[in-house]
Symmetry: C2
Subunit: 429 residues, 2 copies
């Protein structure tokens, strides 16, 4: 039998402990599947004395990532987190020391993936990051290998379980964003500082990585248009239902004439679309290839077990001797693709307004639309008492984002419109 694959793990939080637990529980099974054992030889974490529920017997303890990078091992697993700092230092040091690198760190890969891939591939090493995107769903492998016969035309997905949980719960209960977010924090589904999740940054990291794999292009995190879910009101979920839609925070990337469009924002999607059925903390990705058509991948996007599953899948690939280009084509060949700005989006839109219920209001609003050649599809106005503020929602036919934005600006300046108009993009998918 081949000698064991010797593994050094940095970071023993939930995912690190889960990874050690998995490797311990399935020691014999993994040896059978890989033709060699997967053996943890070294670890590094902040607090040596904390009880993590896993045995560290026989595993060398290192106090610094510099020391771990040079520890006895074939692979370094980075589970520290963060786009720079200790995680980046470790990644560079591990590759420089001739170790394969496995990471669950989406921020690190979104910001430094191509640089690290060039170093890794130049040295004949693997850089693997399945756990960085969509947790336990093997979507990086699916795109980079399973669909590798196709030109990928577009991908879209629910990439953040916290946002999907919040939106699902708001719809099911009618409660508002702050209330549901607070509950999600209490349940451990959302961080104390939820902005990475609810403002769309986490989804954007993952989307930028998937785009690179799908289109064989340099990661361009700065080119991702990002809008989170704080603006979604319970009323939007009610109107979406009435109009035949669900509201989801999606990451979308599409190859278009002139480059790649990458965006993360709330979308109204038809209730019958596969992505609309994905509820709660689940993640899902839909990939469209020119020969295969549409394929869907769904599962748990976070948590110790699913993330450990993805980390160990990468370790198994390495143990089996697999070597594929990190982002689907050799890193040395990756080029930046021109970003297609959000202003170029063409599609339908939903707009919610709060207006004073008096004669002429609708005429003023529709005049603004006409001025920018925006064509209305439906309008719903709910009656309240005369003189009170009433919500008006409308959907408009395909129009360019720039024109829609200008029309909404003009509408927002009408004296009868009481709050900033809220716009949600409708995606047919």
């Amino acid at each position: 039998m081949t000698p064991p694959l010797r593994i050094a793990v940095a970071g023993l939080g939930t995912v690190g402990a889960g990874t050690l637990a998995l490797l311990a529980r399935h020691d014999a099974l993994l040896a059978m599947r890989c033709g060699r054992r997967l053996e943890v030889t070294a670890v590094c974490a902040r607090d040596r004395d904390r009880d993590r529920g896993v045995s560290l017997d026989g595993i060398a303890w290192h106090d610094t990532v510099e020391s771990l990078a040079h520890a006895d091992g074939d692979v370094v697993v980075e589970l520290i987190g963060g786009a720079s700092g200790a995680a980046l230092d470790l990644a560079r040091a591990a590759l420089a020391a001739g170790k394969h690198l496995v990471t669950a760190n989406k921020a690190l890969i979104a910001h430094h993936g191509p640089e690290l891939a060039r170093i890794a591939e130049g040295a004949g090493l693997n850089l693997a990051y399945e756990a960085a995107v969509a947790g336990g769903i093997p979507i990086v492998k699916g795109l980079r290998e399973g669909l590798a016969g196709n030109r990928i035309d577009s991908i879209h997905g629910i990439l953040n379980g916290t946002c999907n949980y919040v939106l699902t719960t708001m719809r099911e209960t009618g409660r508002d964003f702050d209330d549901v977010l607070g509950e999600a924090q209490a349940l451990g589904y959302a961080e104390a500082d939820p902005s990475f999740d609810v403002d769309g940054i986490d989804s954007a990291h993952k989307l930028a990585i998937l785009s690179s794999v799908a289109f064989g292009a340099d990661i361009d995190f700065g080119a991702v248009y990002v809008e989170g879910i704080r603006g979604i009101a319970p009323l939007d979920l009610v109107f979406a239902e009435e109009l035949g839609y669900r509201i989801k925070l999606l990451g979308l990337a599409r190859a278009e004439a002139g480059g790649i469009a990458q965006r993360v924002h709330p979308c109204m999607v038809p209730k019958a679309a596969p992505i609309a059925q994905v509820e709660g903390v689940l993640n899902a990705v839909v990939a469209d290839g020119d020969f295969v058509g549409g394929t869907v991948y769904e599962g748990p996007g976070a948590g110790a077990g699913p993330t450990a599953s993805a980390v160990v899948a990468d370790l198994i690939d390495i143990a089996r001797g697999g070597r594929v280009p990190t982002f689907s084509i050799p890193a040395a060949e990756m080029r930046a693709l021109a970003p297609v700005p959000i202003e170029n989006r063409i599609g339908p839109y939903y707009v919610r307004l709060m207006v004073v219920d008096r004669p002429g209001v609708i005429a003023d609003i529709t005049a603004c639309l006409r001025d920018h050649q925006v064509s209305m599809e439906t309008m719903i106005q709910r009656a309240r008492k005369p003189g009170e503020a009433v919500p008006v929602v409308m959907t408009v036919h395909d129009v360019k984002e720039a024109a829609m934005g200008a029309a909404i600006d003009q509408i927002g300046r009408l004296p009868t419109v009481l709050e900033s108009p809220h716009m949600i993009r409708i995606e047919a998918l």
Copy 2:
């Protein structure tokens, strides 16, 4: 750059022509992804003169599979079909000649997979069959590599698009089986001889293969319990809807104490289950792993494009130098696992009866249930004119299949019960 991977293709039907079309269209893209070209060097098919819409210029023509197996090439792609005959001859000859083998042939793999894997692995060759299961969905790779960190506890899936199309259309239109099947044949979704599809054989082939990958066991096609969809009546779909279920032909495999249960039969599944949402000709597979939890894979299960996508994914793996155990563990280590017979199933059931509407009928039926300790959950009886035959459906709580079968036999012999009772298993999933 590494020399091209030279490919010999046997069979130029829809899938063969689709594979050649894909390789031609994406020649440069695949060379970039693999670091070498994928070059078709030889083909073999029945009719040399048929126009297949793809160019055979510069490709050597062979009249026999024996000749093709020894043609200039690194890989033989078998797209002939059938569990034995030319396909099996070619597979053995190709491996004996030192060629990797890629096939889309589920019957061949279900019947001869372990034998061929032992030959291939013994010779350091790849045997790859992603296209044999669920068309374009990379489910073999997903299970064997993406989820390889997990003990797989169970899998279930819609593995035959024809059956799913027929059941979906019956539900949507209220038309009966023969009518919808005829239409499916006219549309090209069903074969002239539909029995492989509608009697569940095709699903059973695929399930037996997936079981082997999931559980690292010898393929045991003979142990799969198989029941098709011919017995499903429009009335069953109406009652299923009323009871909160959808009817799907599922393949299910589960590791149980004492072995593996493998079965293909119509199931009533809760409308909210992921698999219930999969409609029309689509396929889907749900895999449950001990660390990852449940993951779902959905997409087109047949057709030239999706199947070519899967065939080429296998070729790309080979071109990139990938080597993983054919069925997730080394073929030499694969063992038969004891089959768990269908009689051991414990679960709820749905039963439809046609009865004479006269006093005492229900008392007789419920007495039969009582005699076998079967506990009724719901009963629905639709009134017709007195003395006419009426349908009665009931669902029963968890009970062993053997007891349920005995109760149904007894019910079927009651003089007031007019047709053979029809039973459908309910799966909570």
